[in-house]
Symmetry: C2
Subunit: 339 residues, 2 copies
Amino acid sequence: MPVTSPTTFRTTYAEIAAKAGVSRATVSRVLNGDDRVHSDRAQAVIEAANKLGYRTNRAARALSTGRTGQIAVVIDDSPAVLTDPFWGVVLAGISRVLMVHDIHSVLMVSPLESEDSPIAHYLEGGDVDGAIFLTVHQEHVVQSLVKKGLPVVVIGTPIDLKSEIVYVDTDNRLGAELATKHLLSSGCKKVATITGDISAVAGIDRLEGYHAAHLSLGIEVNEDLIAHGDWSFENAKTLTLRLLARNPDIDGIFAANDTMALGVMAAIHERGRMVPDHVAVVGFDDNLMAQTHRPGLTTIRQDIVGLGAAAAESMLSILQGETPAPKILPTELILRESA
Amino acid sequence: MPVTSPTTFRTTYAEIAAKAGVSRATVSRVLNGDDRVHSDRAQAVIEAANKLGYRTNRAARALSTGRTGQIAVVIDDSPAVLTDPFWGVVLAGISRVLMVHDIHSVLMVSPLESEDSPIAHYLEGGDVDGAIFLTVHQEHVVQSLVKKGLPVVVIGTPIDLKSEIVYVDTDNRLGAELATKHLLSSGCKKVATITGDISAVAGIDRLEGYHAAHLSLGIEVNEDLIAHGDWSFENAKTLTLRLLARNPDIDGIFAANDTMALGVMAAIHERGRMVPDHVAVVGFDDNLMAQTHRPGLTTIRQDIVGLGAAAAESMLSILQGETPAPKILPTELILRESA
DNA sequence: TTGAAAGCGATACCAC
DNA sequence: GTGGTATCGCTTTCAA
């Protein structure tokens, strides 16, 4: 016999059934919204349940239905990721939506290196009904999970688009185009960019946006103005210094994220130049630093809560047997002092 | 009959038992590390389990034992909290420790306003074996959960210490003392402080540390140098401006967190003064901004991963029937350019 | 429309 | 040491 749960004593269907004068089967029907129960008996069941403070036992339900009512949220276990305020907000977006549908989010912080990492096993183990990945981990691992029938949603565009992975992402390309166009159309003649990590899709897309802006305005891109960064402050600063040394007449810089934009500004100041008077700067993300830094950083805001919410909704949709199309969320230019 | 689990087909004890030529009871014993099983049979069971790729069904176990193997991690649903990089790291610390013990972290993002908020019900509902709170929400709600027998650990010192809530926290008082002493002993004659929210224990403790430093160095505290902030950038900036207007000879400022320290520095610059030459600044937290800002922010580093890990360990200890003492984690002064 | 009853998979008591 | 089996609470077929 099991040790009595250390917490509360729980009401069961049996007690509700007794109190309402019906069978357990009927209790189940009523509590699960089955129409074909006489409304008076249904009423009695509901009252009894309320009076007894009934809470459904998820373990029992899971055992019976094969559905756990839980979704794993997998996040990469690296300081760089965890330290990024971005993910907290995404988590909130996911959690809120799932909560409404009475689904719990199980957090798994871990690298997902190989197909038989502990996490991968957890995920196939049936402890959860699906998994949302907060960064594109090793893509083939995710892929193999999908093949095994696990409902999966990835936040961020997968590299291999042919893979039938369901994903949601910010419109990085259009956002970057917005940013670059803003610089170009507000008088900048020579706009450089510090890209993100080009092995990541977000990095590529934001660079493409830079190109697209030039193209649409009929301006030729000078490859010499493109510096390949890695999302980090220090690196961006170094690259900017180099850029400015080679092209002293640069008057605008689009950094592929806010952290790098701060590095860019630091470099500009170090060269004794002013933002935005000498060089205008636009970032991407609109994180806290963008707001608190002086001068305030003009940047591209993404709907981060929305990203999480969209991922959760895609998951719900998969669980209902559908195959949701990828969702790409719009961005918005936030004007502050830097450009 | 249940709908077959959408994911993988699962091996059960029955199959292992058949393959190993033993009973299900024996399979259970072996897989749960019960010694008194002949080692050869045990071996057979283990081999069979591996060969069949057995994964334990948590729902079944939970139903049988009354233990879910899940801990709720409750975090306040406010932008200010979610945007704080701090919590992501704490989460990682918690998750890692629990994971090792095969316990899942269920994330609940929500305010926990009242004793019958949905979350409170979830928590008493037996869906989890315990709860870790990432901010002291309404303390009486937490208290009532404890009274109902739910194992609870709070990250952050509760206001009502007499309450028997298990908690872990950073040594805010000593950290603040360290910060203030650094300013005082490196030549500053007039050190002001921008406090955090004084209705929060962390706010109070950091202010106390400021006092303690003066006391231990035999310097009298000038109440006029204490400005009551609210952790935010803007507010800190405003307060600093006011402080400097009234006391132009302030040459050091301890801000109770890094975000405010940035506000302080912004204000100092706005007044045309230099950091640290005219005014030295020390923050608290050592977040990303402290590192990327120029000049680099001298600050107090807390062991954030450690905080999460400590909370998780306290939880494990409670689950084993112990009553862990509060844990207070040490801090460290990180020297950069600002002081 | 309703109830009886057979599972779901693991555990733990009881008897051998 | 080991096996048989009742049990956890809910769902769902099957009959009535």
